[in-house]
Structure formats: structure tokens, C-alpha cells
């Protein structure tokens, strides 16, 4: 019976990595947001599955948060923002998609190498899970540094954080998971609101972070 549960968890975690790659590939903001929603949904599923197999009911709360907040509220909010800002058709990336994908593959390989050195008696599920989580985290970071637009950077950050939640839930019987996911949701809310605030105050004409950098303390 262990085999099946393992395979499903494995499948879900792997698909999360896959979706991260999709995000990396997608350079239209609107589509990117949609894919992020998918990302959140997949995360929800895997968290729920973990809740089931670890019969840890408190993980359902995490799953619920993931579904409601990350899969619905945030994407909706972001859509409204980018529509308001009129950048919903924008194409945004610093390095070419191909290059980004290559880098991503390299990162996944790296995380595999690093994680598979972990001795096996830490149970395989955890190990695989961690490998995937690590790659999701790295891909999220990669996304943050290869996108110029604040919205896509936020999305990068959020998928990074999804990786964290994946790891946390994968870690059997880890306490404070719920609190942590809540805390992170707050963090993300802050970020989104931050972008939104700046927009509303008419202080920055674009959410491009470079606009912020124009107001750096010591101009050259």
C-alpha cells in the first residue's frame, strides 16, 4: 500500500516542479498569473494528500489556505492590478526563455545531486519530496531574478514559498506548519498591498522596480 501513496505524493511533487517550469516558460503576465493559480492548486492537492497519508488533520487547514488564498484571492488581486496598470499584455523577461529553461534544468539537477547524497534511512518519501521542494525553491528564485516586472517577481516569490510549504508538509509531523503558512500568506499580502499602495499613491508610474531605484539615496 505504501507504494501507491508514495507514487501519488511523488507525482504531485513532481508536477509542482513541472508547473514551475511552465511559469518559467510563460512570459505573458496574464497567463503567468493563471499558471501560478495552477501551481497553487497542485500544491493544495499535494498538501491534502500529505494530510491524508500522515492523517494530520491540521494540514487540511494549510491546504485550505493554499487553495483559497493562493489559488483564488491573490491571482484575482494581481489580475486587477495589472489590468489597472495596463500591463496585462506586457512581455517581460530579462534572459531568453530558452536560457532560463536551461538554467532551470541545471538547478533541478543541482538540487537532485545535493539531496540524493542524503543517506537513505531518512525515508525515501521525505528525500524525494525535499529534492522536488528544493528545485521548486530554486526555480522560484530563478524566476525572481530573471523577471523585471514586480508582479512576476511576486509570483516567483510565491512559487518559491510554495516549495517551502511542500517541504514543510512533506516533513512528517512537523509542528507550526500552519502558523508558518499563515505567516507567509501575511507576508505575501504585504508585498501585493505594497505594490498596490505604490500604484494608488501615484508615486511610481510603473511597478517596475527600477522605478523605485530612481529614488535611491546616493545618485551617482
Amino acid at each position: 500500500m505504501h507504494g501507491l501513496t508514495f507514487d501519488i505524493a511523488h507525482m504531485l511533487a513532481g508536477s509542482l516542479v513541472l508547473v514551475s517550469f511552465l511559469e518559467l516558460y510563460q512570459d505573458r503576465l496574464m497567463a503567468l498569473i493563471n499558471i501560478y493559480a495552477v501551481h497553487a492548486v497542485v500544491l493544495t492537492l499535494s498538501v491534502a494528500w500529505q494530510a491524508l497519508i500522515q492523517d494530520a488533520p491540521h494540514l487540511y487547514i494549510t491546504a485550505l489556505i493554499a487553495l483559497s488564498f493562493k489559488a483564488i484571492v491573490i491571482p484575482v488581486a494581481l489580475r486587477r492590478i495589472i489590468v489597472k496598470l495596463g500591463i496585462h499584455r506586457e512581455i517581460d523577461n530579462v534572459v531568453g526563455v530558452g536560457l532560463a529553461m536551461l538554467a532551470g534544468i541545471g538547478l533541478v539537477a543541482l538540487s537532485m545531486v545535493v539531496m540524493l547524497r542524503v543517506t537513505a534511512e531518512a525515508d525515501p518519501l521525505a528525500r524525494e519530496d525535499l529534492a522536488f521542494a528544493l528545485s521548486v525553491v530554486l526555480l522560484g528564485l530563478l524566476m525572481m531574478v530573471t523577471r523585471r516586472n514586480a508582479v512576476s517577481q511576486v509570483i516567483g516569490f510565491m512559487s518559491l514559498e510554495n516549495g517551502l510549504v511542500l517541504a514543510a508538509t512533506g516533513a512528517k509531523g512537523m509542528p507550526l506548519v500552519v502558523e508558518i503558512s499563515v505567516a507567509f500568506s501575511v507576508l505575501i499580502a504585504f508585498i501585493v498591498i505594497g505594490i498596490f499602495l505604490f500604484r494608488i499613491r501615484e508615486r511610481f508610474d510603473t511597478v517596475d522596480i527600477q522605478a523605485l531605484d530612481r529614488f535611491r539615496g546616493e545618485r551617482r
Partner: protein, 479 residues
């Protein structure tokens, strides 16, 4: 219910924060702020003889006792300084009463978060506390609502969040490493339990964990190249916050790092954390030293000097050994006291001059002798010249390192020398020469800065045996 000192130093700031959030009028709130800080300080001092129980969530041991007392003390002096500083800010209308209320609440909140981070016996709790501390400081950095302030806050916020995320991943990994040995549940995150079983943990997992923790908490410590948020946050926030940031928050993050270093040190199979820390420390020290030269904003300059000193401290802890650890602890203490005192001085100078631009300052020892000479003393101390305390720690670090790793010692000494050059280059124009820029008579609170300088000076000459014993004990703990 009965509350012992340990819980009290968490509860007092929390209550104070709640109260200050609603009370109007800055005089009252400022004095309340001071009172709360004083209470916390006294409680923390009482930790030395009241032996509170260390539960699953909180603990007191020799390591964090040092940190707690230092934190609460600097918090106290800073609150005294901030009273006069904020008064001036209100007078010139830079801060509205509402934002002042918010500021005081946040100040106590920050104190709570830092105390929690220091006393937490649970690595998850510690992480949460540091995140809270970061967020509160973000809000305070942005309090002036100017372009620069918001930009600095935003930068701090983004980089800080990423750091937090990395640190969390590291924490999870530590749990994963601990679980097979200790078993599921809370115990696998309780510090005291972890330490007991650290030897059996899975080394490679621990290694990955440490990398993430080093980067995550290293961001907060301000190690290059993760330092980017630090200079701007120091420069744009209110000066008391700069003092707290440099004097305390960096230490708290460092404390977290040290905890995990001890964990790794206990595990023979894992990589030695030393070399990593030594490398990052060295990079930060030399890099920051060079960055001192082109600064035009006085607060930003001293922020970079903080990076340099954090580099030295991390370097020393990385070197390890009784002498180096002792020196690192001493250096950390001295740096907190000196740097916060310098920021007190700088805050008043900026108010007197009405600017933070070094170009508009000059001949302070002529126009405002007390402030000017205070700055001179501060720079002398921070540059590691005797008879101030930092000289002792630098003496110990450099000489003990030179006997073991001459090349590293030479690089470190080079960094120190370059930094000294940069600091004095600016000091010459600020404190000496023909007076420049506007200057109004200072109505400053000299007590905090001179109290700090007095302690630093005394420590450079004579260290009380009790303190020494404590430090040596901790140094032994750190291995």
C-alpha cells in the same frame, strides 16, 4: 498565574506595545517607552541570579544571557536617546503624532520580537520571531514616507523576505534531519533536544540546512553579498532605528547563526561551518572597508562600517577556538555599544546640521565641540584604536589568527587598515577643518552616548572578572 523573569521580558514589551499604540501625546509615550525598556532591562539582569525553568519554547543559558542583557541595555539607552530625537523630529514636523504613536508601539514590538528570538528554545519559534522583527523594522524604516525611505523599506522588505524564506527552508531541513533520530513532533525542533542528539543527525542534510540558514540569517546579519538592504535601511530610517538595527538586530541574526553553527560543530560527519563563515566574514570586512571611501551620507557610511565589523565578528567565530570566540563575543558587545553610540551622535549631528550629507558638515569640533569630539571618540573606538574596547578584541583576533593562518590574518588586517583610512578620511572633514554648513546649537541627550563610550573605554582598560568568566564560558560552548 505566576510569571517568571523569562516570560516577563517578553510580556512587558508586548503590553507596552499595546498600550503605546493607543496612548496619545509624545511626551507621555516617550517616557512610557523608556520605563518599559528600563523594566525589561532590569528583568533581564535579574536572569543572572533567578534561574528560570527552560521549557519547550523558552530557555536561558549562558549564551543567550549575554545577548539578552546587551539587547535590553542598548534598547534602554536607545529609548532615552529616541525620546529627545523624536521630540526634535516632531518640532520640525517631520513626524506626525500618529506616526509617533505607531513608532513607539513598533519599538516595543521590536523589543518583544528580539527578546523572543533570543530566548526561543524552538528553532521554528526563533524563525517566526526574527521574521516579526524584520517586518517591524521594515515598517519603521519606511516611517518618513519619503521616496528614499519607501525605497529603502521596499528593498529591505523584498530582500528580507527572501532571506526569511531561505532560513525557513533551512529550519525545515534541520527538522528533517532531526526527525529520524528524535522522532516526529515538537521535540525535533526543541533546541536543547537537538543539541543532545546532534551527533546522530544525517550529515549531508545538515550541510544543506546550514547553507540555507547561513544565507537566510546571513542576510539579516548583513554579510556581503547579502548586505544590500542594510546601508539604505540605516540611512533612511529614523536614527534610533539605525542604532537598534546596527546594535541589536544584526546581533540577533548572528545569534541564530551561532546556534546552528554549534549544532553542526557537534556533528563530526558534517562539513566544518568555520571555513564558510571565515570566507563570508573576510569578504564582508574587506568589501565594506572599500565601500567606506565613496560615501556621501554619514549614516550610510557607518552602516557600511557595521557590515565591516559584522564581517570581523563572523570571521572570528568562524576561526573558532577559545581566544577567537572570546574575541568575537567581546567585539560584538563593543561594536553594539560603540555603533549605537555613534548613531546617537550622528543623529544629533544630522539634526544640528539639518542634513546627512557629509559635504555639508565641517569643523564640528569648533561649532559643536561636545558632539564633534563625541564623534571623534566614536570613530577612534570603531576604528579599533586603543584605549577603547574594540582594540582588545581586534588584537586578540588578529594575533591569534596570525599564529594559525597568517594569510587570513593579513587579509583581515588589510581590511581593518583600509576601513580606518576611510573612516578618518571622512572624520577629518566632518569634525575638523573650517566649519561648513548651517549649524544650530544642539539640545541633545548626551547621557546615552557618553554612557556607552564610558563602558567601551572601561572595557578597553579593565574587564571585570565576572564578565570575563561568562564570556570564556560561552566561548567554550561555541567550541
Amino acid at each position: 498565574m505566576n510569571v517568571d523573569a523569562l516570560e516577563a521580558i517578553l510580556i512587558v514589551p508586548l503590553i507596552a506595545a499595546a498600550v503605546l499604540a493607543v496612548l496619545p501625546g509624545y511626551r507621555l509615550t516617550a517616557s512610557l517607552n523608556v520605563v518599559a525598556a528600563l523594566a525589561t532591562f532590569l528583568l533581564s539582569v535579574s536572569l543572572f541570579w533567578t534561574e528560570p525553568h527552560s521549557g519547550d519554547y523558552l530557555l536561558v543559558d549562558d549564551l543567550n544571557r549575554v545577548f539578552i542583557v546587551l539587547t535590553t541595555f542598548v534598547a534602554l539607552t536607545t529609548s532615552v536617546f529616541s525620546a529627545s530625537y523624536i521630540g526634535h523630529e516632531i518640532a520640525i514636523g517631520r513626524l506626525s503624532p500618529r506616526s509617533v504613536r505607531f513608532y513607539h508601539a513598533m519599538y516595543q514590538m521590536l523589543m518583544f520580537a528580539m527578546n523572543l528570538a533570543l530566548t526561543a528554545n524552538n528553532i521554528g519559534l526563533m524563525w517566526v520571531a526574527i521574521e516579526v522583527a524584520t517586518l517591524t523594522t521594515v515598517l519603521m524604516v519606511g516611517i518618513y514616507r519619503t521616496h528614499e525611505a519607501l525605497e529603502a523599506a521596499w528593498k529591505y522588505f523584498i530582500l528580507g523576505s527572501v532571506g526569511i524564506a531561505l532560513a525557513l527552508f533551512g529550519t525545515i531541513l534541520v527538522y528533517m534531519a532531526a526527525r529520524p533520530v528524535i522522532g516526529e513532533g515538537l521535540n525535533a525542533m526543541v533546541w536543547t533536544v537537538l543539541v543532545r542528539h546532534a551527533a546522530q543527525f544525517d550529515a549531508p542534510l545538515l550541510n544543506v540546512a546550514f547553507v540555507f540558514l547561513l544565507l537566510g540569517y546571513g542576510t539579516k546579519v548583513g554579510l556581503a553579498p547579502l548586505h544590500a538592504w542594510l546601508p539604505d535601511a540605516h540611512a533612511e530610517g529614523p536614527t534610533p532605528i539605525s542604532a537598534v538595527l546596527s546594535g541589536l538586530l544584526l546581533n540577533v541574526a548572528l545569534y541564530a547563526l551561532l546556534r546552528f553553527k554549534m549544532l553542526l560543530a557537534l556533528n563530526p560527519a558534517s562539513i566544518a561551518p568555520g571555513p564558510l563563515m571565515v570566507t563570508m566574514g573576510l569578504i564582508s570586512c574587506v568589501f565594506a572597508a572599500f565601500m567606506l571611501y565613496r560615501r556621501r551620507d554619514i549614516k550610510r557610511m557607518f552602516a557600511y562600517s557595521s557590515i565591516e565589523h559584522m564581517g570581523i565578528i563572523v570571521f572570528a567565530f568562524g576561526m573558532g577556538g577559545p581566544i577567537a570566540n572570546f574575541a568575537a563575543l567581546l567585539h560584538m558587545t563593543m561594536h553594539s555599544l560603540t555603533k549605537s553610540a555613534i548613531f546617537f551622535t550622528v543623529g544629533h549631528i544630522a539634526q544640528v546640521k539639518g542634513t546627512q550629507k557629509i559635504a555639508d558638515m565641517g569643523g564640528l569640533t569648533v561649532t559643536n565641540p561636545l558632539l564633534g569630539w563625541a564623534l571623534v571618540v566614536g570613530v577612534v573606538a570603531i576604528a579599533g584604536l586603543p584605549p577603547m574596547g574594540i582594540f582588545m578584541s581586534e588584537f586578540l583576533v588578529v594575533s591569534s589568527t596570525f599564529a594559525r593562518q597568517p594569510l587570513l590574518a593579513i587579509l583581515l588586517a588589510f581590511g581593518i587598515l583600509v576601513a580606518l583610512g576611510g573612516l578618518f578620511l571622512r572624520l577629518n572633514t566632518i569634525a575638523f577643518g573650517e566649519p561648513r554648513g548651517p549649524s544650530e546649537p544642539a539640545h541633545a541627550s548626551y547621557v546615552p552616548m557618553f554612557a556607552h563610550f564610558a563602558i567601551v573605554f572601561a572595557a578597553g582598560i579593565y574587564m571585570p572578572p565576572g564578565l570575563v568568566a561568562g564570556f570564556e564560558n560561552v566561548a567554550r560552548l561555541l567550541g
